[in-house]
């Protein structure tokens, strides 16, 4: 199998380059990450993040043949050769396929990603009906991989000001939670030409999400809530 991989080591390289690799393997049932681990056995300088190897931790997001995805759940057999791997677009590259995620995390933290409820805590759980709980499905499962935000043109241009699809999905996760009492403050915070309204519904984010989540839908819901409260 043939690979073409983005390489850049600031210690030794003046600029990035693409490096070709070959592996004498059959795709079979292998995932892309399995192949990358074999490449790393051959060349220990090849650098990328990984942890769970089952698509739940969000470590190994990268640009695979032009599309953002997780290497560990991308079957090799689904990829055209040479398999071209690049770092996630739009974020500063630290080394090879490793990007600096700080802007992405910063936007996530900026939406106050935690339940806000100042009422006294009951001795038991706060009750929530199965229907109310179902509102959180499709939202809470986000693994913060950044596949979505780094495929979003609005995020590329304004990563410091636009929250981006992942952060907005989480903002809506708390707005939608019947236990959260800060909807008004959350909406106030997003009513801003940049934080929310840079989204032009291009839907790249939906296509990119490896967990099948739909940030555009959540963004639409937030916009709806904002319109509702102005009329």
């Amino acid at each position: 199998m043939r690979f073409s991989i983005y390489r850049y080591n600031p210690d030794t390289d003046a600029k990035p380059r693409m490096q070709d690799y070959e592996l004498a393997i059959e795709a079979g049932d292998m995932m892309l990450l399995d192949a990358m681990l074999l490449l790393k056995d051959q060349d220990d300088t090849l650098s990328f993040r990984r942890s769970c190897r089952e698509g739940v931790c969000g470590s190994d997001a990268m640009n695979i043949n032009g599309f953002n995805g997780l290497a560990c759940v991308t079957p090799l057999s689904s990829l055209k050769q040479p398999i071209t791997l690049r770092p996630l677009p739009g974020l500063p590259v630290i080394r090879d396929l490793i990007v600096d995620m700080e802007q992405f995390y910063h936007q996530y933290r900026s939406i106050k990603p935690y339940l806000i409820n100042e009422e006294p805590e009951p001795e038991i759980e706060r009750l929530q009906s199965p229907e109310e709980r179902a509102e959180l499905d499709g939202l809470y499962e986000c693994i913060l991989c950044a596949c979505c935000s780094t495929s979003c043109p609005s995020f590329w241009w304004n990563p410091d000001k636009f929250v981006g699809p992942a952060g907005l999905l989480q903002a809506y996760r708390f707005i939608a939670d019947s236990r959260d009492k800060a909807t008004r403050e959350r909406l106030d915070d997003l009513e801003d030409p940049y934080r929310l309204f840079r989204c032009h519904s291009i839907m790249n984010c939906v296509a990119a999400c490896p967990k099948g989540l739909n940030p555009t839908l959540a963004i639409g819901r937030i916009k709806e809530l904002l319109t509702k409260r102005t009329v």
Partner: protein, 587 residues
């Protein structure tokens, strides 16, 4: 070499469930706390936990913490410490309710309370009908819990050192822990974190085996650090094989599948667990189910062309239940087994899953060792919690959904004890001039240029050897050979070399440091296993098939120096209730 230093009141190493819960406890008292993690916290292995977290809330059926305690003691094959088990089971309800208040999105029952499901080994009335005790967020409980705890830490403004690798503890000649040397992955620079309390929460080490449900980062780093500090590891022979790892991939299928009504069949379509555990059947304890599967496969009733696995059948649950309660499993099965469980059974094999042993602690999370006077003297300034610790609530076999509980109960308890310790010790102790040398020379060793064997070659040999010589069934000869082989592999490590010597994000160096830790954990495991001539919980010896309480109702302690073994008694006396006396174990 001058190393930069930062001073905190306490440092926590590990951003999984245990570390994040401890950090929240400390944040409440306005202490200066550093939380170090080699990965961004939500990439920690806790994220993979699927089935749930145990607590006797009784939301579906009557339940009590005392029944939960009985099940845990019995599940542990009586090797668990009953004071710690009472402590954990008593606090479970409060701990889970607190997670709910933190915002964890538990599934709900029609009356709005937390959804609970049955899990293996959990019963009503001391071994009666199955209990419904495991609180769940679909089959993504760990993800929901880890993200919730991380989110609370964002709210609490915890000081994170993300993508820093802990190299070694810093200690003085009186045995005090003074902090830790960490390595900034991005810059490659070491940093000394000085702290009056150090909490290890570094998780498991399943990567010592070739086939495991564990993440690639589960390399037992905290255990390696403790061994290098001259301290022992407890009960390392006890490794849980989870019955349902996906054949070939090692990816886990939660016991919650059997909790929801799924069951195992052999090649004849027979529900074979009825023969091995007539009452609990597929919900018997994990050691029991894994051994039954191994026997079925060994006796030629396995499935597939090589007859090397069995099937987990759940299509009869119907698409509704599978889609709403087990969506993550369906996704994993489609991806890794190419099977849609709505239509066909999933091929599964027993797979290494959980480390019952670890760093010995008491129920306050203090690391304990036989130093001067007793077998369990606290090491000043050092704590351990979560899977890396052995408190010991799981004994010889953990019950599913008790680990997530362990993380939060002891994360909190350790936090509280650290607060007391910091009050009693308001000033840092002097750091001896040479205290950082061991950590720094360990780092420098990998800068050596020139040829040598690769880290990955040694690691793969180690993992294959552990798999072959320390599996579900063990025997004297195989273990003895295994010990010799692992020792021989360990001797190759000093000759290994890297080709990558750059500073920036050098993952090759991290893998080398991890291999040193894996090596220590593997040796501890196989040496302890060879010595224990009985079968108890997850440790099953062909040559000693019975449990031997007369000689072996005791915890193993392994020291790296000369691979020395020592033993200490099991704490059979609970805090307030009567002991559960060791009895024959059947399900």
């Amino acid at each position: 070499m001058a190393v930069a230093k930062r001073t905190f009141d306490a440092v926590i190493i590990g951003g999984g469930g245990a570390g994040l819960r401890a950090a929240l406890q400390l944040a409440k008292s306005d202490l200066k706390v550093a939380l170090v993690s080699k990965v961004f916290p939500t990439r920690s292995h806790t994220v993979s936990a699927q089935g749930g977290i145990a607590a006797s809330l009784g939301n579906v059926k009557e339940d009590s913490w005392h029944w939960h305690m009985y099940d845990t003691v019995k599940g542990s094959d009586y090797l668990g410490d009953q004071d710690a088990i009472e402590f954990m089971c008593r606090q479970a309800n409060e701990a889970v309710i607190e997670l709910e208040h933190f915002g964890m999105p538990f599934d709900r029952l029609p009356d709005g309370k937390i959804y609970q499901r049955p899990f293996g080994g959990m019963t009503q009335n001391y071994g009666g009908d199955p209990a419904i005790r495991t609180c769940a967020v679909a089959d993504r409980t760990g993800h929901a819990m880890l993200h919730t705890l991380y989110q609370r830490n964002v709210a609490a403004k915890t000081h994170f050192f993300e993508e820093y690798f802990a190299v070694d503890l810093v200690t003085d000649h009186h045995g005090y822990t003074l902090g830790v040397v960490i390595l900034n992955l991005q810059t490659g620079e070491p940093l000394f974190i000085e702290a009056r309390a150090t909490i290890l929460a570094t998780g498991g080490a399943g990567r010592i085996f070739a086939a495991t449900t564990n993440a690639l980062i589960n390399t037992g780093d905290g255990l390696g650090m403790v061994l290098r500090a001259g301290l022992p590891l407890e009960d390392m022979e006890f490794w849980q094989f989870h019955p349902t790892g996906i054949h070939g991939a090692g990816v886990l299928v939660t016991e919650g599948v059997r909790g929801e009504g799924g069951y195992l069949v052999n090649k004849d379509g027979e529900r074979f667990m009825e023969r091995y555990a007539p009452n609990a059947k597929d919900l018997a304890s994990r050691d029991v189910v894994s051994r039954a599967m191994a026997v079925e496969i060994h006796e030629g009733r396995g499935c597939g062309p090589k007859a090397d696995h069995v099937y987990l059948k759940l299509d009869h649950l119907g698409p509704e239940v599978i889609k709403s309660k087990l969506p993550g499993i369906r996704e994993l099965s489609l991806k890794f087994a190419h099977v849609d469980p709505i239509e066909a059974p999933i091929p599964v094999v027993p797979t290494v899953h959980y480390m019952m042993g670890g760093i010995p602690t008491n129920l306050h999370g203090q690391v304990v060792a036989p130093t001067r006077t007793g077998p369990e003297e606290a090491i000043p300034g050092l704590y351990a919690i979560g899977e890396c610790a052995c408190v010991s609530v799981h004994g010889a076999n953990r019950l599913g959904s008790n680990s997530l509980l362990d993380l939060i109960v002891f994360g909190r308890a350790a936090g509280n004890r650290v607060i007391d310790h910091l009050k009693e010790n308001p000033f840092p102790r002097p750091v001896p001039v040479d205290a950082l040398d061991p950590a720094l020379s360990r780092l420098a060793r990998w800068d050596r240029k020139g040829g040598g064997e690769s880290v990955s070659a040694i690691r793969e040999d180690l993992r294959q050897t552990m798999q072959r010589h320390c599996g579900v069934f063990r025997a004297a000869e195989v273990l003895k050979e295994g010990v010799a082989k692992v020792k021989a592999i360990a001797e190759r490590l000093p000759h290994a070399a890297l080709t990558d010597h750059s500073k920036t994000f050098n993952t090759a160096r991290i893998e080398a440091l991890e291999l040193e830790n894996l090596m220590g954990v593997a040796l501890a495991t196989i040496v302890s296993a060879e010595a224990r001539t009985e079968s108890r919980g997850a440790h099953a010896r062909d040559d000693h098939p019975q449990r031997d309480d007369r000689n072996w109702l005791k915890h193993s302690l392994y020291y790296a120096e000369d691979h020395r073994l020592d033993y200490k008694p099991v704490r059979l006396k609970p805090l307030t209730v009567e002991s559960f006396e060791p009895k024959a174990r059947s399900y």
